[in-house]
């Protein structure tokens, strides 16, 4: 038990991402309301963004903004700056996630216009009629 606790504390960022991901997953699969499903999808994506960003972090490291001429002369000590690449990747992932959410919201408006509801069971009942 103690070992597990230490493990959780030592790698807490990974545990948080897994827990967040499961919350999102539950909402996507288990919820009946389509907006809640969409929010679950957003939480799911955010969990992955958190995972990526947290992998770039180093202890006592600063922002990855360096003086070009200094670096060309003396080089840079990689342990003093956080790894900026995962952050940059996640900028793209955020753009993707925003676009998907936008498309999904537009579809929800059309679904609501057609069926007058966003509850999945009510929509399915209307389709069956």
């Amino acid at each position: 038990m103690d070992g597990l606790l230490n493990e959780v504390i030592a790698k807490y960022n990974y545990w948080i991402y897994v827990v967040l991901m499961m919350i999102g997953f539950y909402a996507m699969i288990g919820k009946n309301n389509l907006v809640k499903k969409l929010l679950g999808m957003n939480i799911f994506q955010t969990a992955i963004i958190l995972f990526f960003v947290s992998t770039g972090v180093k202890r006592d490291a600063g922002v990855a903004i360096v003086d070009k001429y200094e670096v060309l002369k003396h080089g840079v000590d990689a342990s003093t700056v956080v790894n900026p690449l995962p952050h940059v990747l996640m900028l793209t992932a955020i753009v993707v996630s925003v676009s998907v959410t936008g498309v999904a919201l537009a579809l929800l408006i059309r679904i609501h216009r057609r069926y007058g509801s966003l509850e999945e069971d009510e929509i399915l009942e209307k389709i069956r009629q």
Binding site: L38, I48, T92, A104
Partner: protein, 496 residues
């Protein structure tokens, strides 16, 4: 100079044409057809030239924007991706010839918006085929998916709801892929596929590598609708407008299967994927066998031609995944050959659906009575496509199925072999039922009164691509020996 830049231009020309279609198509509809067909014709010719060059000189690596790999993004055209480029570009071109016509009827007034999305989708698919960067692959995967969501939602009635379910499933798939890339990045510090492949061999014992591999595979399986993760596909494809289904159905799942092969062959070694976890390998073949059988029987329960075909697509995905995981030369050859053949077969079937729906309105079985008399050429092409789906020689479907069965026998995977045979028999039942309804069942009087008795084929713009595709089934069938010998053999890793 321009030849040097072909790997980038293959993608860039349809992408730029997409924006040109949006601007100029708004002003005048006369711009749309030349822009769409011109850009796709360029991509097709360029990919044929590229494939010829790759077969002559070996793999072409194109550096984007002067940033050398592994730091920059590179485009890689090797025999496998060259073959896929030709297939994707040619299928898209042939499909678009008929789509230009059918969109006028299906989505009047929205055609410039439709083709903007469609061209971005095709550019994304071409990009997926050639990219050599794992994260770039994620972005392109989402470009193709988001445009597909939009295109499917253009359909009538239930289309937005089906598209929404596809969004949820598709995003789960993409997120799993992204997670896998994240694990690989933590382990290797690189995103370039070839570079990761160089670093991975020292790390193969680690659980994290297996986790990354599993995440990547599950991501692709959701995206390619591998049974039992297929639930989104039949609704999404059958509620989509026919003009969308005819492009998306032959290409999306096939490109995703190619991506799975790419990850197995280029990033992880064959050794790691197939041999280090023998239990996993045989389990996947068994699941594929289950996928083939279940999807075939689900197809049997359908009462609409288009919906029936969507279940056949799910079964065909089982063929390709199972064939790849047989982990021997014949199985892998069969899987790659089946990607090519299935793209052409599915195109043929969906072009026939497009032509029928253009004249009759929909493709429900009860409306197909007497269809052979009304549309003899369409149905002749359809029958040829059906023979290929069943696997009758000399159509191309026979040859890939033959390789898959040989691979199954060689690997002692009798479950997979039986599934292939059962699926062929079920396909035969499925298509002979259509032929029975369309050829032998007598037309009802009132039905005849509505639609008239004479021959009423679809317009030439829809009919000629269909006939061309049906002939391609035979040409590729006769040429499959050459394709295997000259292209696929080069695409497989050493020892296969």
């Amino acid at each position: 100079m321009i030849l040097e830049n072909f790997p980038a231009l293959v993608i860039a020309v349809p992408l730029l044409a997409a924006f040109a279609v949006n601007l100029l198509g708004r002003l005048s509809r006369a711009w749309i057809a030349p822009l769409v067909l011109g850009s796709l014709a360029f991509s097709t010719i360029a990919s044929v030239v590229l494939l010829a060059r790759v077969l002559r000189e070996g793999t072409v690596r194109y550096v984007m924007g002067g940033w050398r790999a592994p730091f920059g993004i590179e485009l890689v055209v090797d025999p496998l991706s060259g073959l896929m480029l030709v297939v994707v570009a040619a299928v898209a071109l042939v499909a678009c010839v008929s789509v230009v016509k059918s969109v006028e009827q299906e989505l009047p007034g929205k055609d410039y918006l439709f083709f903007t999305l469609l061209l971005i989708l095709i550019a994304g698919l071409l990009g997926l085929v050639v990219t050599g960067d794992a994260f770039n692959l994620y972005v392109l995967l989402e470009i193709t998916s988001i445009t597909t969501y939009g295109l499917i939602a253009m359909g009538p009635d239930r289309a937005p709801l089906s598209s929404f379910n596809y969004i949820i499933m598709g995003t789960i798939g993409a997120c799993f892929y992204l997670l896998g890339v994240g694990y690989l990045y933590i382990l290797t510090g690189s995103l370039n596929m070839a570079d990761i492949a160089l670093i991975l061999p020292g790390l193969e014992g680690q659980v994290a590598v297996a986790t990354a591999f599993a995440f990547l595979l599950v991501g692709f399986w959701v995206k390619m609708a591998f049974f039992p993760l297929h639930s989104w596909l039949p609704n999404a494809y059958s509620h989509a407008p026919n003009s969308v289904a005819v492009v998306v159905a032959p290409l999306m799942t096939k490109v995703t299967v190619y991506l799975m092969l790419r990850i197995i062959l280029t990033v992880f070694s064959v050794d790691y994927a197939f041999y280090q976890h023998a239990a996993v390998q045989s389990t996947i073949v068994w699941v594929s066998a289950g996928a083939i059988v279940c999807a075939s029987f689900l197809a049997l329960a359908q009462r609409d031609l288009k919906r029936m075909l969507t279940y056949i697509i799910v079964a065909e995905v089982g063929y390709m995944v199972g064939g790849a995981w047989l982990a021997n030369s014949a199985g892998l050859t069969g899987a790659v050959l089946h990607i090519v053949n299935d793209a052409i077969m599915t195109l043929c079937m969906f072009l026939a659906v497009l032509a029928i729906a253009y004249r009759i309105g929909d493709t429900r079985f009860e409306n197909l009575t007497g269809i052979f008399r009304k549309m003899p050429i369409t149905m002749a092409a359809f029958t040829l496509g059906a023979f290929s789906m069943i696997g009758v020689p000399p159509t191309c479907g026979f040859f890939s199925k033959w390789y898959l069965i040989l691979g199954g026998v060689e690997a002692d995977q009798w479950g997979f072999v039986i599934a292939l045979v059962v699926s062929s028999l079920v396909n035969a039942v499925l298509f002979f039922r259509i032929i029975e309804i369309g050829y032998f069942r007598l037309e009802e009087q009132d039905h005849a009164a509505v639609h008239g008795n004479g021959v009423a084929e679809a317009p030439l713009m829809i009919l000629s691509p269909l006939v061309l595709t049906a002939l391609a089934l035979l040409v590729v069938g006769f040429g499959s020996g050459l394709i295997v010998k000259d292209v696929i053999r080069l695409a497989l890793p050493a020892g296969f």
